[in-house]
């Protein structure tokens, strides 16, 4: 499937939604999209061609994991891993499984992360792409397990591991098991690193809580998309704790860059090229 096909399906789906959404949006969503940042209206088709980046203000719209696969890998090279893992309900929270099932239907993913192997300008890479459309990208056992298996696959293949993070943090409904996924993914990354392999973390909007405080921050190279919200604690919690208003740009990618917490902020339009170059500069034979 090419990116053009993606549009087609989106267009059809969105048409059905127009009538429902008309009251909230001045502009029909299916054909036209209004930027939530600068209110610029453009053809949805053009927006998709522009990698879901506002042509006027550079606002980076959220992307689905599939959309990232389309724009990131060499065409036809991506093969997904571990699509068969399904969450269970360890703490027996009412309606947790129903929520999972509903998001499986909505996103076409088995959980909040899509993992797989593919090629980037001919170099084999292993990737994990989180999708905030699935339970806000929160990390439970399956997300932790899929990411860990992907890291282990990268170690086994002596390949670079690349992650696109998008997550509100640990998943409450799986309690301390969710917390422990931070440690599980980190021990796997430590092993991948000890073997001398490259890990690039690409933080997208939003990357917070337990995801921010584990693999997202552990890249040999940590990148972020412009204006992505990245942080450990939530803004409201911090404001309540320190009893002061936080600056407008607090916990944005640019804020982190200014405070020495990121290697670079990279526009989505340059991301593929940037990552590809970094990967090429780490190919063992080239050194």
């Amino acid at each position: 499937m090419s990116i053009k096909d993606l549009f087609k399906t989106n267009k059809i789906k969105n048409k059905a939604r127009i009538s429902m959404k008309r009251e909230e949006h001045d502009v029909p969503e299916g054909i036209m999209t209004k930027c939530p940042d600068c209110r610029h209206v453009e053809l949805t088709k053009d927006l998709m061609k522009g990698l879901k980046v506002c042509s006027k203000c550079d606002h980076h719209y959220k992307m689905t994991a599939q959309e990232r696969v389309e724009i990131f890998f060499d065409e036809g090279t991506f093969k997904s891993l571990d699509d068969h893992l399904v969450s269970i309900n360890p703490l027996e929270f009412p309606s947790y499984i129903e929520k999972i099932q509903s998001d499986i239907k909505k996103t076409g993913l088995n959980e909040a992360v899509l993992t797989g192997i593919g090629e980037l300008d001919g170099e084999q890479i292993v990737v994990a792409i989180m999708d905030s459309h699935f339970r806000m990208g929160s990390m439970g056992s399956v997300v932790g397990e899929k990411i860990t298996r992907a890291i282990e696959k990268a170690t086994e293949l002596s390949a670079p591991f690349i992650i696109f993070t998008a997550s509100g943090g640990a998943r409450m409904q799986e309690g301390v098991l969710s917390l422990m996924q931070m440690a599980k993914t980190s021990v796997a990354l430590q092993r991948h690193s000890a073997e001398g392999h490259l890990f690039i973390s690409i933080m997208t909007h939003p990357t917070t809580g337990g995801v921010s405080a584990s693999f997202a921050s552990l890249g040999d190279i940590n990148l972020a998309e412009p204006k992505a919200l990245i942080g450990f604690a939530g803004r409201r919690v911090i404001e309540q704790t320190v009893r002061e208003k936080l600056p407008e740009d607090f916990q944005t990618a640019e804020f982190l860059l200014a405070h020495g917490q990121l290697d670079a902020v990279v526009n989505r339009k340059d991301m593929r090229k940037t990552v590809s170059t970094i990967v090429k500069l780490h190919v063992k034979e080239a050194q």
């Binding site: 056992s141 309690g175 301390v176 422990m180 440690a183 980190s186 809580g209 911090i238 607090f250």
Partner: protein, 317 residues
């Protein structure tokens, strides 16, 4: 003076009655020793009944008891020759975490732990045991130092969580926690973590990537505080008691989930009732753990740690 918790109210009432009788016996010329001894028996039975049926929320209350022993209390009671080392060599010294070297049964060890204050003044200095990034970086510096000199590392976990503050975010709270998880995975020396009070979220986990994790009987380890869970799940922080049960945060819960290795028994009513005895209970478990890990080669220690965390999670294939 030891404070009683709400669930201990019946005990407190009985104790008051006993004390009244004792006073009466002492002042008046009536011998009530028989009655007193009967009441003492009833007290023991009631105590057993209450503590045998202890609920998760009761444990949370014990874990938060103002007089609950802290890392420092246990260091003083368990180790010899403790010398505290300060600072992360980069930004400052975060007193929410203490660490240093000591000897345990004649062997050098490195000890690191969250440190709450005993009173308001000390709590402010120690930020209520809620670390900033420099606290985690100090901890990591001391772990690397321990690795260089082949000393086992003992961590004590006792925090509501990493501090949610402006400066903490600016200096990389996320990175500091993540770095500890990552680096602890690769340590070439034995690491033992003991949760002694509240183990709150990532801020607790950052000292928990160990070969063995133990918990005091009334300690908790959770992804979020019961109050936080209640307000997210049910939009009502007053349902914390219900959340404490639903989230399965107690030592027996974690043992059942096979996340921790051992539950360290607490003295009746909680560690605050007898620090000396409590320290002895810890000492026994610690001694066992160190003995078990003592002769394991570095690569196996790393492998064990890997397998321990690798196995955590539930799902269907």
């Amino acid at each position: 003076m030891v404070k009683y918790l709400p669930f201990e109210a019946p005990l407190m009432q009985l104790r008051e009655k006993i004390n009244e009788l004792k006073e009466f016996t002492a002042n008046a010329d009536v011998d009530m020793s028989k009655e007193i001894s009967q009441l003492e028996d009833r007290f023991s039975k009631l105590a057993k009944e209450i503590y045998d049926n202890i609920q998760p929320w009761d444990r949370v209350q014990i874990a938060r008891h103002p007089e609950r022993p802290t890392t420092k209390d246990y260091i003083n009671a368990i180790f010899d020759d403790f010398i505290e080392f300060h600072g992360d060599r980069n930004f400052g010294d975060d007193e929410a975490i203490i660490g240093g070297i000591a000897s345990f049964e004649g062997r050098p060890i490195t000890i690191i732990g969250h440190q709450r204050g005993k009173d308001t003044k000390e709590n402010i200095r120690r930020n209520f045991g809620m670390p900033h990034p420099e606290g985690y970086r100090k901890a990591l510096r001391l772990m690397k130092q321990a690795e260089k000199f082949s000393r086992p590392i003992i961590c004590m976990i006792d925090t509501k969580g990493a501090y949610p503050g402006k400066a903490a975010e600016q200096r990389g709270q996320s990175e500091a926690i993540a770095r500890n998880l990552f680096e602890m995975a690769g340590l070439k020396v034995p690491v033992i973590s003991i949760v002694i009070g509240e183990g709150g979220s990532g801020g607790a986990l950052a000292l928990c990537v160990a070969n063995q994790i133990h918990m005091l009987e009334n300690a908790t380890l959770s992804v979020i505080s019961p109050e936080g869970a209640a307000s997210i799940l049910w939009k009502d922080a007053t349902l914390a008691q219900k959340a404490a049960e639903a989230m399965r945060i107690t030592a027996p819960n974690l043992k059942e989930m096979e996340i921790i290795d051992e539950i360290i028994p607490e003295v009746l009513g909680g560690a605050h009732n007898d620090v000396v005895q409590q320290a002895l209970n810890m000492k026994m478990v610690l001694s066992d753990s160190l003995e078990k890990l003592k002769n394991i080669p570095a690569d196996e220690l790393i492998e064990n740690r890997y397998n321990k965390f690798r196995a955590i999670g539930v799902y269907t294939e």
